[in-house]
Symmetry: C2
Subunit: 142 residues, 2 copies
DNA sequence: TATTGTTATACTCTATAACTATA
DNA sequence: TATAGTTATAGAGTATAACAATA
């Protein structure tokens, strides 16, 4: 259920393109996760622990409850994709990091994530620059 | 957990803009659903029954199992946002449609979906046309 | 007393398999 | 026999509340 578009009654061409683009991204992300035996939530967390992170820090970044992260990490750890290690500076805290198997899973995911690999290759260097500028402006970034 | 980005080790400016754009869209969609007491899946289905639809047709479009749709629709129907009606042409089939309350919920959702409303307003007419063309090209559409 | 993280619980999403009613 | 949809079931995501350990 990665499809989130069609929220507007009568979309114009720019809106339709935007919805279709986001849908294609989301569908490809979900397919890449499934192809590698990961749920969406597992793929999200696995992709964010390239460097060791605290659990609560992750929960805040993902906008979900800490207890949620605990459960997903427990499943990832049971499959030896991540590991919890004590933080010597604060014994309440635990740092989450990927195992070598976790690194391999992320590499396989990236390989499956066709949209991220291919979408920009259809544009010239100049067009990529134009697209980036337009997206940033639409986002309201400086 | 709408955040799906950061799949590439060293993203360039165009990739970063693309990821950030999709993230902003997904986060806004999720926030709009939550603000109106809807789950993501409920919002997806509710948004797709502007006209009566068959259940299996919806499942195929959403890329999920028919039994999944049955359950989500059961919850939407319990809240009087949609209704199932018999199809006179084929008594096995049931057409799903929104109630007036469902229409109101969709209107409230659209109002909350800030990103879809605001992103394009930051671009001129000409820029919107450029963006649509670039997104279509990146998608590989004709 | 405040903070980090876990556990217990309940509800939702999701798919598979078995089923009912109709074609 | 095939199709539309449901029911039963099990695993995963999600948040709230209560808790343990540490600061």
């Amino acid at each position: 259920m990665a499809l989130t578009s069609v929220p507007v009654a009568t979309p114009g061409p720019a809106e339709s393109a935007m919805f279709d683009f986001v849908d294609a991204y989301n569908q490809s992300f979900e397919a890449a996760a499934e192809a590698n035996g990961l749920s969406l939530a597992q793929a999200c967390i696995l992709g964010r622990v390239a460097d060791p992170r605290g659990m609560g820090e992750l929960a805040e970044e993902l906008g979900c409850d800490a207890s949620n992260v605990t459960q997903i990490v427990t499943r990832l750890e049971a499959r030896s994709l991540v590991e919890r290690r004590a933080d010597p500076a604060d014994r309440r805290s635990r740092r989450l990091s990927r195992t070598p198997q976790g690194d391999a899973a992320v590499a396989a995911f990236d390989e499956s994530f066709a949209f991220a690999r291919e979408a920009l290759t259809r544009l010239s260097e100049e067009e990529q620059g134009q697209l980036a500028a337009l997206l940033r402006k639409a986002l309201g970034d400086a």
